[in-house]
């Protein structure tokens, strides 16, 4: 392969692999927020997912079981947030942050005995016909393809199916949906659960695929970035994917160009790029009235508007 080809395939490969957890948790947060529930506990859910995936795989030797458990555990944990914010109608910011703390705490305390342990089996390399032949796509586990495919599917579902309309309407005007016979509570619970599952899976990817091991803090703030990327993406899975990959490529470059550019500046770039990108498109979006779901963060109560 030519030098340029080698270089490109390296960049693409690292971007794809690094961006998976960011992409998955962003997609999940987009769905939760589209239904009107702000979930600030993503980081804690990821940590729970990473820990439970590792622990289950450690004991069972089956990474697929670990993946499944990571999604289920984080999904169930996120129901705590759903219960508080949908049923009890509490402040979503606080209950999300509380959930995040609980997630970090529980995974940290229970995970003590698993730090520094080695997994016998991890996620294998997964090859798809055609796609895996592209430069940079050669050696990845299944998460890379699933997250990419999910971004497209979730975009389609949200904007081109009845389910998508229901979710978006619940986030915009729950009273009207309620009047039309939509079960607002159910939709919101489902979306929060789904967001939790994706956050958990992204944690599972970290502890089983990206770097097969468990240690506290390995989520490294990705959950917070997901919340920022959700806004960056204008609550659109497609732009969420673009944002996640852009972040990934800049993160990779921050090590690639260290010989040429000062490391501090490079470390800042991934965080500055969303602002720079938004400075070009935000006014346009505002003119087109693309903004946050109108009822984001507002508890719905029948009869009060």
């Amino acid at each position: 392969m030519s030098t340029i080809g080698f270089w490109i395939s390296g960049v693409v490969g690292r971007t794809l692999a690094y961006s998976v957890p960011l992409l998955l948790s962003t997609l999940g947060e987009i769905y939760a927020e589209r239904s009107g529930i702000l979930n600030l506990g993503v980081e804690g859910l990821m940590s729970l997912g990473a820990f439970s995936a590792f622990a289950v795989t450690f004991f069972s030797g089956n990474p697929w079981l670990g993946v499944a458990v990571s999604g289920v555990v984080a999904g169930c944990a996120s129901l705590v947030h759903a219960f508080f914010s949908v049923t009890l109608r509490t402040n979503q910011v606080v209950s999300g942050l509380a959930l995040g703390m609980l997630g970090m705490g529980v995974s940290g305390v229970l995970g003590r005995d698993f730090e520094g342990k080695v997994l016998a089996t991890t996620l294998p390399v997964f090859r798809l016909p055609f796609l895996s032949a592209l430069p940079g796509f050669e050696k990845h586990n299944v998460f890379v393809y699933v997250s990419l495919g999910l971004a497209v599917i979730l975009w389609f579902v949200l904007f081109h199916t009845r389910w998508g309309i229901v979710i978006r309407s619940v986030g915009e005007n729950p009273a009207a949906c309620d009047a039309m016979g939509v079960n607002v509570t159910l939709v919101r619970y489902a979306c929060v659960f789904f967001g939790g599952v994706l956050a958990g899976l992204s944690g599972g990817y970290l502890s089983l695929g990206y770097r097969p091991s468990w240690s506290y803090g390995m989520t490294a703030g990705v959950g917070w970035l997901a919340i920022a990327l959700t806004i960056f993406a204008f609550w659109n899975p497609f732009w969420g994917m673009v944002g996640a990959y852009l972040f990934g490529i800049l993160y990779h470059f921050s090590f690639r160009f260290q010989a040429q550019v000062s490391p501090e500046l490079l470390n800042t770039l991934p965080y500055l790029f969303p602002l720079v990108a938004l400075s070009f498109v935000s006014r346009l979006a505002a003119r087109r009235k693309v903004g946050p779901p109108a009822s984001l963060g507002v508890p719905y109560q029948r009869g009060s508007s």
Binding site: N91, L102, S279, R283, R302, G303
Partner: protein, 370 residues
Amino acid sequence: MRLRFQVTRRLEPSASMVFFVSVLSLLLAFLVSGLLFAFLGISPLEAYRVFWRGAFGSLYALSETVKRMIPLAIIGAGLAVSFQASVWNIGAEGQMLIGAIVGTWVALFSPLPPSLLLPAMFILGFLGGALWGAFAAWCRNRLAINEIITTLMLNYVAANLVLYLILGPWKGKTVRGFAYTDPFPQEAWLATIGTTRVPLMTFLFAFLAALFCYFLLTKTTFGFELRVVGRGEKAAHLAGIPAQRVVALVLFLSGGLAGIAGVGEVSGIHHMLRHPAHISLGYGFTAIIVAWIARANPLGVLASAFLFGALMSGQDALKVAFGIPFQVMYILNGLVLLFLIASEQLLYYRVTLRVAPWGEKEDEYDRVLD
């Protein structure tokens, strides 16, 4: 058959009831935490005793609590104002770091005479944090960028700026190449109260900030305007209130207060600039919770900041006494938060678990008493 939660609304609860229910919920949170301690092999009663003595039990314990309360209260007061205007400033951590940077510059590199160092540190630190916050307002007003993402991302930028300075141009001559600045001259150290490590000046600032923000919110036209803006820009527009100006001022103020907290930490605690994760113990983020728990009331912030200061201090005592994993603290804090917000709802709503037959109309159970 199915289980249903029935929620009905109550009238405005009295102050004593708020207090009573909050205390009750805290007790409940601790009761549940007892299970956690039992799980860790620690007698819950012993844990409560250590916590209590570590947070309130002596003058020393109280001083450690207050030391943590100060930055939380100063930042929380500003965030309360910001949240009242529906301006979601989650960049206090970064604004605080900028305050610390500016304060450090004044202390180490400015040509000012020693007597002017401290006033200049606080004034310029306020301005630094304020402008860092106002930049987010500019992005929102001019470029229509949501302030949540701006303030969040600027936290990372501020942290990288600190790292750049302590590893590069400001690296100390007396620290053997480690990533710290030189210590501040003694004139730039805040005096502490007695033998404690509580800086007197920032202690007073905490109360001043709360009073100032309370006064601003309740007794001034600007306070009225910002609360209208908080109801939505449409309402503000109808009332003829310049929403953009309000947003800018609110971010300027809350950023500035965070900047003051940052100066307070470097001149009162550290006496140098060091790794961002050690300058602030997540105060900028915890203050968000502090402000919310106080329902964005600056006076209430004093109480909730004290509560969180006590949690941090009592947990230190637990860590020392039992050598427990530090993550236990997150579980404790999470439980306290959940019980607090649940109790808040119980003040307004009565929730009952009902068993209802399938198919029954929901409306019969969801009567709203407004």
